[in-house]
């Protein structure tokens, strides 16, 4: 339940910050949320991963539908990847997820070092 709350919070807050700031603001959001609400580190990667990957993919799918994949297919061709629209969407989600996941993992480490002094 806590994981789900963190994912939703990261997704919503990062969507807000990214309208004003570059992509890496999502990494900071994931890091901060994990410090604030993270329980233990076994799930810290997933909060950032899903928290960033899901909105990135949702937005990509929305744009891709409205634009009939005109650009995603060209970009796949440019980087010599298989030309299926799903590849571009998954790749976008994956990169977003990885940088978001990194943020939340490091957030967990910071919490470990400075806030969880009880050694749990």
């Amino acid at each position: 339940m806590n994981l789900l709350i963190r994912i939703v919070l990261i997704a919503v807050l990062s969507a807000v910050t990214q309208t004003y700031f570059p992509w890496w603001s999502a990494v900071i959001v994931a890091l901060v949320i994990e410090i604030a609400l993270g329980k233990n580190n076994s799930t810290s990667f997933f909060s950032g991963f899903y928290g960033v990957a899901i909105p990135w993919m949702v937005l990509a799918i929305y744009i891709d539908n409205k634009s009939e994949s005109i650009l995603s297919i060209r970009i796949l061709e440019l980087f010599q990847l298989p030309q299926f629209r799903v590849v571009m969407i998954v790749l976008t989600g994956l990169i977003g997820g990885l940088v978001g996941g990194l943020g939340s993992v490091v957030g967990g480490w910071i919490k470990d070092a400075f806030l969880r002094s009880d050694g749990k």
Binding site: T19, P22, W24, L31, W56, A60, E77, I95, L102
Partner: protein, 829 residues
């Protein structure tokens, strides 16, 4: 321990953010690029667009309306000229900003700033031939003319307004991909763009290859293979003989032929164009018709930007160059005009006699002069700035140097001179009659063009306008002695003596890059001219005394290959079929040719066989000019590898120091002098070959290659597939280019399409007295964004020979329901 881990984590985040934001090799910054909030996704244009009806534009003075028709062509209705050009700049930037900036960076020799060191050679050359200097010289004159200056300033402000309001997510795709940002637009950039066009259209210099060929062949054979070209029929303006005194000719024995000049490869003569105008006495409707199709390197975004410009002072429709205000080719209510390249040589090279190059001192006449130094700083992305010093002699910048051999070539290019071509177009946009046209042309200098003209009062005209030197015979064809001070005495041909005619008796005017005049013209000129398209066009216009719009379209789209019609019967007559070695292949190739109507239609096989044969014949016949790598035994193998690699069986083993003689020369030799010494192969010492041998040898290779094409190319030897015309993205990215298009054509047919070049705009205008009617098509579309549907809207129409009827609007109210209308409002202070 945990603290170390946390610190390590923070460092890791910083590193990943940095990497995700940085260009890595050829990859764009990965996370920044994929980020759907700001990255490439944001450049995907929605198929159904919502847009605001009104829009504030800081910088315009009054309300303006813009109508976007079904192809996205803007029709600007402004209440004054300032707002008109401001909005033209704004909208052009919106659709084409990256292209505008990339081309002007290229012109200025600044590509290294974008793509890094690999463009250094290109940038250095641009600096040394004085591109920036030429643009600065042009500005000097532009500053003196308020009309063109205010148009340029308003246009630049419009572009800059767009740039300053550009958010990260709206940055054009190529900036995201190459990871850089646009800089401020200046009027210098507009001037650079015109020099970029001048360089493209003046690329037919032959000074070095002529010098080399003269050295190789001697004056007698040289003159036979590279004759003056006014012996050809059907010039642009026949019987044009203004009174003037003739200069003396050069003595070819005295041309300096020592030295191997280190200059870039010669541009093959692919660039060309057609235009013609037919008087109302020879049209079905009774109104004059003007047609124009400029052939250039095909590229995406399209070279041209279609637009209508309307203000109380002007109402004009046509195509503009992104980066330059006004319309370059088009029509208004009263007149229509179109351009083709004059093809005359306006670049002269002089071997300078430097006393001390580092000091910049050189000898000229009895004096020792000092060259001016211009320091060129070439900033290199991810590298150290390169400093280059270019010396400017009295005869122009020293463009090519070989310090070891102490060889220095100065370039005297007429595009270096102060000029304001923009004013010509500014005035043509507003011209009402022939006198306005004549006055507009008086400001036009470089690159020389044939301006065809038609008006609503049924007048037609053509004028080859440009700045051309008065020269003795053979002047400017070779690298000349730069220590001779008499080169500094220059005189120019007055406009009235430039070839022109108004309402000729034959009822039409035309040009297709042929020589401008016949031997009645008293001035000497040289250049690179086409010898076939013009005759096909003139034959058509002479024969049909009541042409329709459909006839004009058919003529622009005609694939009739007059070169083949003249050369092939000669080649077949000389072909000895008893020598056939592999009859299966040879018979098959021959049979294709026998029934051919000389049309390079995409669905035919014969043009493939002919074009291969013509190439092979030239390569074998002109073995005098082939590079030392040329090995008769490996010849076939080499071309076969090329065929596998890129589907093109063309062999080009020629030595780039030389240029093959014009096709007409080759045809004349086949016809009249089959035993000429040039037919003898250089590689065979014991035998003497004649035309028959060259014809058979080349046919043999053709047949073998053709056999392989049938065998390995999935049975698709048809000309359209074999030629495979492609419209390439400006940065040569295949993913943003067109697929290979089966369009057919030949550089010698009116539809002058090759694998890389072709009609960059086809336009037909009928000058009715109640208002012009026009048709046109671009090989691309309005938008420069590969993520937009309008990036290639017209490509299929272009490829299949269809035209759009152009919407020349009388007012912003006469529109169709599906079109968008935007009102631009000034911001009140």
């Amino acid at each position: 321990m945990k603290v170390i881990k946390a610190v390590f984590g923070i460092v890791l985040v910083i590193v990943v953010v940095f990497l995700g934001n940085s260009k890595l090799g050829i990859l764009p910054p990965v996370a920044k690029f994929l980020d759907p909030y700001h990255g490439f996704w944001q450049n995907s244009e929605f198929v159904i667009q919502e847009s605001e009806d009104s829009f504030q534009l800081n910088g315009i003075r009054a309300n303006s309306k813009v109508v976007f028709d079904e192809r996205g062509v803007p029709h600007i209705f402004a209440s004054n000229d300032h707002d008109l050009y401001f909005i033209q700049g704004y909208l052009t930037a919106k659709d084409r900003l990256w292209q505008m900036e990339f081309q002007t960076h290229a012109a200025a020799g600044r590509l290294c700033e974008i793509v890094g060191e690999k463009a250094l050679g290109f940038d250095l050359e641009q600096r040394r031939i004085g591109m920036l200097w030429a643009a600065e010289n042009a500005l000097e004159l532009i500053y003196k003319d308020s009309a063109s200056l205010s148009a340029l300033n308003a246009y630049a402000n419009g572009v800059n307004y767009f740039i300053s309001n550009l958010s990260n997510e709206n940055l054009p795709l190529e900036y995201k991909l190459l990871d850089y940002e646009p800089e401020k637009w200046t009027i210098l950039k507009s001037a650079l763009l015109l020099k970029y066009m001048a360089k493209m259209l003046n690329g037919n210099e032959r000074d070095r290859p002529n010098t080399e060929a003269l050295k190789l062949l001697g004056p007698e054979i040289f003159n036979q293979l590279f004759p003056d070209q006014n012996y050809l029929t059907n010039p642009v303006v026949p019987d044009f003989a203004p009174d003037t005194a003739l200069g003396k000719g050069l003595n070819l024995e005295n041309v300096m032929t020592d030295g191997n000049w280190d200059m870039p490869e010669i541009q093959p003569h692919f660039v060309g164009s057609n235009n013609w105008a037919v008087s109302g006495s020879r049209t079905e409707s009774g109104s004059a018709i003007l047609c124009n199709d400029p052939h250039l390197g095909l590229s995406l975004p399209s070279i041209w930007y279609e637009i209508q410009l309307n203000s109380p002072n002007v109402n004009c429709y046509g195509v503009s160059l992104p980066g330059s205000p006004g319309i370059t080719i088009g029509f208004n209510d009263s007149i229509a005009w179109g351009v083709t390249n004059a093809g005359r040589d306006v670049k002269d090279y002089y071997a300078m006699d430097f006393v001390d190059y580092s000091e910049g001192t050189y000898r000229m006449g009895d004096e020792t002069l000092k060259a001016e130094k211009r320091i060129e700083e070439i900033k290199i992305r991810g590298g150290k700035t390169v400093i280059d010093t270019v010396l400017y002699s009295a005869l122009g910048p020293v463009a090519y140097t070989d310090k070891k051999k102490r060889q220095y070539l100065a370039l005297r290019w007429l595009a270096h001179d102060p000029s304001n071509e923009l004013l010509t177009f500014h005035m043509l946009n507003r011209a009402k009659n022939f006198n306005d046209y004549e006055e507009a042309l008086s400001y036009y200098q470089c690159p020389g063009q044939n301006f065809a003209y038609a008006d609503a009062k049924n007048n037609i005209a053509i004028w080859q306008q440009g700045k051309f030197k008065v020269m003795p015979k053979d002047y400017g064809r070779f690298i000349q002695d730069g220590s001779d001070a008499s080169h500094l005495e220059e005189k120019f041909i007055p406009q009235a003596h430039n070839p022109h005619m108004l309402n000729p008796e034959r009822g039409f005017v035309s040009s297709a890059n042929q020589p401008p005049t016949d031997s009645t013209y008293p001035y000497y000129y040289s250049g690179v001219f086409e010898e076939f398209r013009n005759r096909t066009i003139n034959n058509f216009l002479r024969k049909d005394s009541s042409v329709s719009i459909q006839d004009m379209m058919d003529l622009q789209l005609s694939n009739y290959n007059l070169l083949a019609a003249e050369a092939l019967p000669l080649m077949l007559k000389l072909l000895d079929t008893t020598k056939f070695q592999y009859p299966e292949n040879e018979r098959r190739a021959l049979n294709e040719l026998l029934e051919w109507n000389y049309n390079n239609s995409p669905e035919l096989i014969a043009p493939t066989v002919f074009e291969i044969w013509w190439d092979e014949l030239n390569n074998i016949l002109w073995d005098e000019f082939n590079s030392s790598d040329w090995d008769a035994d490996k010849y076939y193998l080499y071309s076969w590898e090329q065929l596998i690699k890129d589907g093109k069986a063309k062999v080009d083993m020629r030595d780039t120091r030389y240029v093959y003689p014009m096709s007409k020369v080759t045809i004349n030799l086949l016809k009249n002098e089959p035993n000429h010494i040039v037919f003898d192969h250089g590689s065979t010492n014991n035998s003497v070959e004649v035309a028959k041998d060259v014809v058979y040898d080349s046919f043999y290779w053709t047949a073998m290659k053709f056999g392989d094409i049938i065998k390995y190319k999935y049975n698709r030897p048809h000309w359209g597939f074999y030629q495979g015309t492609q419209v390439k993205h400006l940065a040569r990215l295949d993913a943003f280019s067109s697929k290979k298009l089966a369009v057919g054509g030949s550089q010698h047919a009116p539809n002058a399409t090759t694998s890389t070049h072709g009609p960059s705009w086809r336009m037909i205008v009928e000058m009715n007295s109640e208002g012009p009617k026009a048709w046109g098509v671009l090989p691309g579309g309005q938008s420069g964004n590969p993520g937009s549907k309008t990036y290639t809207t017209s490509l299929n129409s272009w490829a299949s020979g269809k035209y759009h009827e152009l919407n020349f609007l009388k007012s912003s109210d006469s529109i169709e329901e599906s079109w968008r209308v935007q009102t631009f409002k000034p911001i009140k202070e």
